[in-house]
């Protein structure tokens, strides 16, 4: 039979997801996929908050998750607007193409 999940299993899962997100930021050469990897990392942290909340009997972690999601939405909107603006100028999505502040 599978072992009952403890707080530690949730934290381990969160660590794995966070590392996957970091690897995505390092490995991918597409601005959109890099932003997606950042979302994976944010979700890993959200899972930590909710798990600790559950095992400690708190509520505040879930409220922080609410705010994290709001900020993630704002970040995605601004980030994707930047991607669109950059794509208009260079027609590529590789981050190496965007090394100058002005063109």
């Amino acid at each position: 039979m599978l072992p009952e999940p403890t707080l530690n299993s949730y934290l381990m899962l969160s660590a794995v997801l966070f590392a996957i997100g970091t690897a995505g930021v390092f490995l991918r050469r597409n601005v959109i996929t890099i932003l997606l990897s950042v979302e994976v990392m944010l979700n890993a942290v959200n899972l930590t908050f909710v798990a600790v909340d559950r095992f400690r009997g708190l509520i505040d972690g879930q409220i922080i998750v609410f705010f994290v999601m709001t900020v993630a939405a704002a970040e995605a909107a601004v980030g994707l607007a930047l991607v669109i603006a950059l794509f208009r100028h260079k027609e590529v999505l590789t981050p190496d193409a965007f090394t100058s502040l002005k063109w």
């Binding site: 009952e4 660590a15 994976v40 798990a51 909340d53 400690r56 991607v83």
Partner: protein
């Protein structure tokens, strides 16, 4: 049953996330990330926080991922190709990328090591009742009302900023 569900959902979340960063086509990445968010939402329900599970689906899978999907379709993003040019290959070639991968593996090992130390102490039992939306709402609007109001300003600024950034240059 709970344990079985946890391991299934964890497996789905990890597999989908690995496939997200393993894809060359951003469209597949976005769709796989939605699957990962669905699994995480199931985990939130297991953790007794239905509120977070629901906003995970509504905000993340419903709003943010659709935004990503629209951008991918709008830009007609092609699958990424191998870098061209000497400088690009030097910066993003196999060596530096492998170094980045090694760094993230080191990060995972560090986190595991830290959690292993943690597990030797006794864990609190997870038998607290599930939190209701009412509790969260009361706490949110009583103690965190300033943060809530500040968030509305943040959203407004992000909205205006996004429109300004993505606007076509006027003549």
């Amino acid at each position: 049953m709970d344990a079985f569900l946890f391991w299934i959902l964890a497996l789905v979340a990890v597999t989908a996330s690995v496939l997200v960063i393993g894809q060359r086509n951003p469209m597949y990445s976005v769709l796989l990330l939605i699957a990962s968010f669905g699994a995480l939402s199931g985990l939130y329900i297991q953790l007794g926080s239905p509120f977070v599970a629901v906003i995970q689906i509504i905000i993340y899978a419903g709003a943010i991922m659709v935004l990503f999907l629209f951008t991918v379709m709008l830009l007609n993003a092609q699958p990424e190709e191998s870098p061209t040019g000497r400088l690009a290959r030097m910066m993003t070639g196999a060596g530096p990328r492998r170094f980045g991968a090694v760094l993230s593996v080191v990060l995972a090992l560090q986190l595991f090591w830290a959690l292993r130390v943690l597990s030797s102490q006794n864990m609190p039992p997870g038998d607290t009742p599930a939190t209701t939306v009412r509790e969260i709402g009361v706490r949110l609007f009583r103690e965190h009302s300033f943060a809530f109001e500040a968030t509305s300003v943040l959203i407004l600024v992000a909205m205006v900023g996004a429109i300004l950034l993505a606007r076509k240059e006027s003549q």
